[in-house]
């Protein structure tokens, strides 16, 4: 194949291609799939999230993000930042420790893995002896304390990861210090918690799982011992170091005094907050002091076991205020943002940051009512499963502002607090244009995301549910718990995977950025046309039905029923408000949608046929049935075979998740190849080789619809036209007569079938495009009217490009004769899944750009094919071919970027263009002193090699001292 498709060896073209095309995966948007660990550095003001697939992601101020991937692809169990350093340590579930650091490189910071280490016990010792359960990076930044399952605490030198064996705190050593009667009763067992004394770095608090708590003095070798009779979960120091708090398996927490005398201390306070009935464990607790004396006690869990044991909660108690924040998914971990200035007298907490399994929730603790903070990133894209997506580039400022204003009215219940995690500096250039990514969801909502930059940020959420009557009352609020309710649960977060009615699911979206018209189509054949309105309004939605079978007798639709509509006026909030509803009959899922805002027409297609609706006159113009008479499957509805639609959706959702689990485990592939081969021999899979015929199922399935003003009938007169392509390789062209603007309301729009093209290879038609006399794709509706595009060339002859899953074909117009073709499947065995025209600009000169086809194949490759000559330019592997949901979710932008789902909750952004590249570029500032020291260090080496050792030594000392000072200055600055 290469021999035939290699586009010559034109060096000019090859050079140009280098200036035009380049493939990069730039950033992952959304919420990490299966998060497993959380870390926070008050010093850097950065948050780190680890996942089950071994990824770690760091987030700071909006736009500041870093990503790293452990080679092992093992679950990240714990993340700990080294105090006052740009370094962090991760613990994986294979018991390996990894040191990561943020280093500046080429003007921007990068996250790199520096070291890895696995704790090894003496020969013959059981693996539990070295299984790390607790990690404490010491404030000296020189050592790491590792608590293990055996109860030993190992000391690791940083950054070399060398075990300092003489400093190991063995359980025997601890027991020696304990009075006789205690040590007989219990052994030390597993180390649950290690906490450094907030004031005295020489003392660490050790909590063993059986309830023994030891304050160990590293210098003096003294120890204080407390005994609790409950299994210990966690420990927390109070700020002044005079007390600490322990939380327990039975849902209680205990406050203990710390005094210097050696008497056996008694607990100050022992409470079961949600008693008296048995409660679940409190797994983590914070005790935060404030100026007014009332502490914030914040803990995870502790709910009454019988009635609320299934809740994922975090409780905040402040004086008489108490709220149990109730999460829809499991809480992974949480932290509190409080004053980190060591000199400050109080903790003065400002925000609670909770990482749940499916979302990040931040609660503002400063404002009354503790409202949630709207996160600028880590949005839960999948709060209802994503069913489709649509990208619109270069949104006009006016529309952008109107969408934002509509969205801000929806966000009034959010806190106005600035985003508290604000470390690092975003140094990426401002995005060159405003881009919108629209996602359709299973629950009938459309979310509008700001996709211009690195942070995918929710601007506005549109719900189509209001138009329909559904079982669930939209006013039914989950938060209608009375005031006296105990425990005081409050639902937080947006993740809601349960859909009231799967028929509401959004399948196709089309937004006209110039007019603000939006067309949305769904699972039960519903098509809504909407208009942007800045005010709330109450109005009746015009309702029409499109009988795509045209009253044929003898058909029986066995799929779902159509949605019931609400009679009478409906109240819509500001934003996109539907004014027309067309329901296809039979109510099969809408498979294609096109909107022409200038002609005020909307076209829609299902597996039965397609129709055209005039949304100005609110009149159905025509319908065309594309069914083959023998296609019984399409008639009955594909879902009739599946008993429950919900079930099938759930299964597909699960499938997406499952495919995700292995998505990062790429390295294992080569090894497993031999095994895979043997497996294949055991269970051979057969594939039938058969030519497609007209009788195949779903040949009438309408895959694509396209409006074009072109020469359909004769070469002298162009007219509006509608093109439709089906699964069976048929293209229909309809000639439209749209009355002129002044008579638009008086005369009906007429349509007449002008052409029908049957592709002999019968592959599904996935794209139709008309090229003008200059071989440029026709502009979008209203694009010319807004002076954003050259008007199309109507002098030269137009050409029709039909893209099927297997071939690209160019035909002349108006007399259809075939001009060019490119066979893809016959030569490469891959099929077209997605195709778009993209504009590629040269990175060298501003004045050159060209249109090409960006094509995603079923193998996950992306190919760029030139227009109009259909020459393959370049090919990049992008998505694994096994990742079916990733390939299905891919959406291209008009400027050579794209998005695809790497998990139900994450979009990977990629770029094919050298010019349009959105990727994080940020700096995390080290304390300035450090950089000074670098200079010092450098000069030291320049002075002479003999001095090197000494100067290095002194400089590192200096670094420590002055580093501290500078940190204080920095933090003071921030708190002011």
């Amino acid at each position: 194949m290469r021999r035939f498709l290699r586009p010559g060896h034109d060096p000019v073209r090859e050079r140009l291609k280098r200036d035009l095309f380049q493939f990069n995966k730039t950033v992952e948007h959304g919420f990490p799939h299966q998060p497993s660990a959380l870390g926070y550095s008050p010093f850097l003001r950065l948050m780190a999230i680890g996942t089950r697939s071994g990824a770690i992601k760091l987030y700071g101020a909006p736009g500041v993000e870093f990503m790293g991937l452990h080679e092992e692809n093992n679950t990240v169990m714990q993340i700990h930042f080294i105090p006052d350093q740009c370094q962090l340590v991760t613990l994986l579930d294979d018991n390996s420790l990894h040191l990561w650091s943020l280093k500046q490189h080429g003007g921007a910071s990068e996250l790199r893995e520096e070291h890895r280490f696995t704790l090894k016990g003496p020969p013959g010792s059981p693996p539990s002896a070295t299984q790390v359960t607790a990690v404490l990076p010491h404030s000296s930044r020189e050592v790491l304390y590792l608590g293990t399952e055996s109860g030993s605490i190992f000391v690791l030198e940083l950054p070399s990861f060398r075990v300092l064996e003489d400093r190991t705190i063995s359980p025997e050593a601890v027991l020696q210090r304990i009075s006789e009667d205690n040590c007989n009763r219990r052994s030390c067992e597993l180390v649950e918690a290690l906490r450094e004394h907030p004031k005295n770095p020489d003392q660490i608090l050790i909590g063993y799982s059986r309830g023994l708590i030891v304050l160990w003095d590293l210098r003096a070798g003294r120890s204080f011992v407390w005994l609790s009779f409950q299994q210990l979960e966690n420990l927390y120091w109070q700020r002044d170091g005079s007390k600490f708090i322990s939380c327990h398996y039975d849902g209680s927490y205990t406050q203990w005094p710390v005094s210097s005398d050696n008497r056996q201390p008694e607990p100050l306070e022992n409470t079961v907050p949600y008693g008296p009935f048995p409660c679940k464990a409190i797994s983590k607790i914070y005790w935060q002091t404030t100026k007014n004396g009332l502490p914030y006690i914040i803990f995870q869990g502790g709910m009454p076991r019988a009635s609320y044991g299934d809740r994922h909660s975090i409780s905040v108690i402040h004086g008489s205020q108490q709220t149990a924040f109730d999460f829809t998914s499991r809480v992974i971990d949480f932290f509190i943002i409080f004053s980190s200035d060591p000199a400050a007298e109080f903790d003065d907490p400002s925000a609670l940051v909770v990482l749940a399994e499916e979302e990040l929730v931040v609660i503002d603790l400063k404002s009354a009512g503790w409202p949630a903070v709207h996160p600028p990133y880590l949005a839960s894209l999948h709060c209802s499963a994503i069913t489709c997506s649509h990208h619109v580039s270069n949104i006009p400022l006016k529309l952008w502002e109107r969408i934002i204003s509509a969205g801000s009215k929806q966000n009034i219940h959010y806190s106005s607090m600035p985003w508290p995690i604000d470390g690092g500096t975003n140094i990426a250039p401002d995005p060159p244009q405003r881009d919108l990514l629209l996602t359709g969801h299973e629950d009938g909502t459309v979310r509008f995301w700001d996709a211009s930059g690195v942070c995918l940020h929710l601007l506005y959420k549109l719900s189509t549910v209001r138009v329909f009557l559904t079982d669930a009352d939209p006013n039914d609020n989950m938060n209608t718990l009375g005031e006296d309710e105990w425990p005081p649960l409050r639902k937080v977060g947006t993740f809601d995977p349960y859909s009231d009615d799967p028929r509401l699911g959004i399948q196709k979206i089309y937004l006209c950025k110039y007019s603000g018209y939006l067309a949305v189509a769904g699972t039960a054949g519903q098509v809504l046309v909407m208009e942007l309105n800045d005010e709330d309004a109450e109005h009746v939605v015009d309702h029409a039905e499109a009988d795509l079978l045209q009253d044929q007798e003898g058909y029986r639709w066995k799929g779902h029923e159509k949605l019931k509509t609400r009679d009478g006026p409906v109240r819509f909030e500001a934003g996109f408000q539907p004014f027309v509803l067309v329901q296809c009959q039979p109510p099969a899922v809408v498979t294609s949608l096109a909107l022409h805002s200038e002609w005020k027409l909307v076209a829609f297609g299902t597996s039965h046929g397609f129709g055209l609706f005039d949304h100005q006159q609110k009149r159905l113009v025509f319908v065309k049935c594309t069914l083959h008479p023998s296609d019984q499957l399409a008639l009955e509805g594909p879902l009739s075979r599946v008993k429950s639609l919900k079930k099938s959706l759930r299964q597909s959702f699960r499938r997406i998740r499952r495919s995700r689990v292995s998505s990062r485990k790429r390295s294992c592939w080569c090894k497993g190849e031999v095994d895979a081969l043997q497996e294949m021999e055991l269970a051979p899979v057969q594939r039938k080789i058969e030519a497609r015929s007209a009788e195949d199922s779903f040949t009438g399935f309408v895959r694509t619809l396209y409006f074009a003003d072109t020469f359909l009938r004769d070469s002298s007169r162009h007219c509006p036209s509608l093109w439709a392509g089906t699964n069976g390789g048929t293209v229909y062209a309809f000639c439209l007569r749209v009355p002129p603007a002044e008579r638009r309301m008086d005369e009906p729009v007429r349509a007449e079938q002008a052409k029908e093209i049957q592709l002999m290879h019968r592959a599904p038609v996935v794209g139709i495009l008309v090229l003008d006399g200059r071989s440029t794709p026709l502009p979008e509706p209203l694009e010319v009217a807004h002076d954003l595009s050259k008007s199309p060339d109507m002098q030269g002859s137009h050409q029709l490009l039909v893209v099927s899953e297997e071939q690209f074909k160019v035909f002349t117009l108006p007399k259809v004769s075939s001009k060019l073709k490119l066979k893809l499947t016959a030569l490469e065995g891959c099929r077209v899944r997605k195709v778009t025209v993209a504009n590629f600009g040269s990175c060298k000169t501003d004045d050159y750009s060209e249109n090409d086809l960006a094509v995603l194949t079923n193998l996950g490759d992306i190919q760029i094919i030139s227009l109009p000559f259909l020459k393959l330019q370049i090919r990049y592997p992008c998505i694994r071919k096994e990742d079916v949901s990733g390939i299905a979710s891919c959406v291209f932008t008009k400027y050579g970027q794209g998005f695809y789902l790497i998990s139900p909750s994450e979009f990977e952004r990629f770029s094919l263009s050298t010019k349009w590249l959105v990727e994080p570029r940020c700096i995390v500032e080290m304390p300035e002193v450090t950089s000074n020291n670098h200079v010092h260090n450098k000069s030291g080496t320049e002075n002479g090699k003999i001095l090197f050792g000494k100067s290095f030594f002194s400089s590192s000392l200096l670094e420590r001292k002055s580093g501290r000072l500078m940190e204080h200055a920095l933090l003071n600055d921030e708190s002011e």
């Binding site: 194949m1 035939f4 498709l5 586009p7 010559g8 003898g554 065309k624 049935c625 594309t626 069914l627 083959h628 008479p629 081969l677 294949m680 051979p684 899979v685 057969q686 594939r687 039938k688 080789i689 058969e690 030519a691 497609r692 015929s693 007209a694 009938r713 079938q753 002008a754 052409k755 029908e756 093209i757 049957q758 592709l759 002999m760 592959a763 297997e806 071939q807 074909k809 035909f811 002349t812 259809v816 004769s817 075939s818 001009k819 060019l820 073709k821 490119l822 066979k823 499947t825 016959a826 030569l827 490469e828 065995g829 891959c830 079923n858 193998l859 000559f869 259909l870 020459k871 071919k881």
Partner: protein, 389 residues
């Protein structure tokens, strides 16, 4: 098959042009024209033709019309080959073949086109031993035998062929399946498997694609050229190694109109042995019916594929379906044409002058190039809106 011929001879206006005693330099043609009314409605003429200079089919056709004094009647021309098969003469190739293989006599049959019984042609329509005349003279023996319908002789098409025998290793076989105009399914399945290859590291097991099943009555089975467990090496000239089962499936389906599979047969005993091919063995190996196919190389093979690839159909304004013509290349697009193997280059590889065939015999024949089967087309003509179950 004799019965067919007899039926043909008796019931219709066959003009068995019995002929041709060959002299050393002259072909002696004797023809008989049988009157339409008689039981032996045949007329014989005998004349001769110079064997070394047979001339063109057109000329021969004119000569026949002249000899039988039917200058304006369209006729079908057939001959019996050395095996006694009645085969058509409708182009220069098979005309030359007929003349060159005739020994000593070339028997020609002509039949008025409108009365043509196309079932007459085919293998074993004549037997070696029986004289055609004897069949003609004993017409009543086979009255009750039903017709076996065989399509029109001028549309005779290969169903499959072994090609490129000269350039392939003897252990490989390149099979071409022609799937058009027939309702017969391709009818085979492929699977993953492993095969042993000799590599730089010695023998190695590598993944391969194999034929796993042949559907009874399918095209693949009826050719006898493919068998279960044959390893698929190439599809239309493209190696399948490194491609997944799904990819190979897609490639085969995309090429299903004209599928060329190179296999390593599981049974290596029936391989074509080079230099021992004999001509005129019709029905035994299809290669002889395509005498010019052997020197194909991959390039022309692909081009041939392009050429024989059916064209799409257009229906304008609810009119008749028509093939979409090829646009005349403009100067602008020529550069690209030469680079991406486009439609226009019609390299004659001798396989399928299909479009010519159509042009020559357009009268009264349904062009089999149309892929839309008859019922489908009808519904399209009815604007496709009325669908009857």
């Amino acid at each position: 098959m004799q019965e067919n011929l007899l039926n043909a001879l008796r019931g219709s206006g066959w003009l068995p042009l019995l002929s041709v005693s060959l002299g050393r330099n002259r072909t002696d043609l004797r023809s008989a024209l049988v009157g339409c009314t008689g039981i032996f409605g045949a007329e014989f003429r005998r004349f001769s033709l110079e064997r070394s200079k047979p001339g063109k089919f057109e000329e021969f056709y004119g000569l026949l019309q002249h000899v039988h004094k039917i200058p304006n009647v369209d006729v079908l021309v057939g001959y019996t080959d050395i095996h006694g098969d009645l085969l058509p003469i409708n182009n220069d190739d098979n005309y030359h073949k007929a003349v060159s293989t005739a020994n000593p006599l070339l028997r020609i049959f002509i039949q008025r086109k409108e009365d043509a019984d196309y079932s007459a042609f085919g293998t074993d329509t004549m037997t070696r031993k029986k004289n055609v005349l004897s069949n003609v003279l004993r017409p009543d023996n086979h009255k009750k035998k039903p017709h076996i319908v065989i399509s029109m002789p001028q549309d005779f098409r290969p169903v499959s062929s072994i090609i490129d025998v000269d350039i392939l290793p003897e252990t490989h076989r390149r099979v071409r399946l022609y799937k058009y105009g027939t309702d017969k399914p391709l009818g085979f399945y492929i699977r993953d498997g492993s095969s042993v290859r000799v590599t730089a590291h010695g023998l190695e097991k590598v993944p391969g694609i194999f034929i796993s099943r042949l559907v009874p009555g399918g095209l693949a089975q009826s050719t006898g050229l493919l068998a279960v467990n044959d390893e698929v090496l190439e599809v239309n000239g493209i190696e399948v190694s490194g491609k997944s089962l799904d990819q190979v499936t897609d490639m085969m389906i995309a090429n299903s109109r004209n599928l060329i599979i190179t296999v390593r047969p599981a049974n290596q005993r029936n391989n074509v042995v080079r230099n021992s091919r004999t001509s005129g063995s019709s029905g035994q190996s299809t290669e002889s019916s395509l005498p010019s196919s052997t020197p194909n190389i991959l390039g022309s093979l692909l081009q041939g594929e392009e050429e024989s690839d059916e064209e799409d159909i257009i229906i304008e304004d609810s009119g008749e379906p028509q093939q979409i013509p090829k646009a005349a290349p403009t100067s602008e697009s020529i550069e690209s044409l030469s680079q991406i193997e486009l439609l226009h280059e019609s390299t004659q590889n001798g396989f399928l002058p299909s479009s010519e065939l159509n042009l020559n015999h357009s009268a009264g024949s349904i062009s089999m190039e149309y892929e839309v089967p008859e019922p489908g087309r009808k519904s399209l003509e009815e604007e496709g809106t009325i669908i009857t179950l």
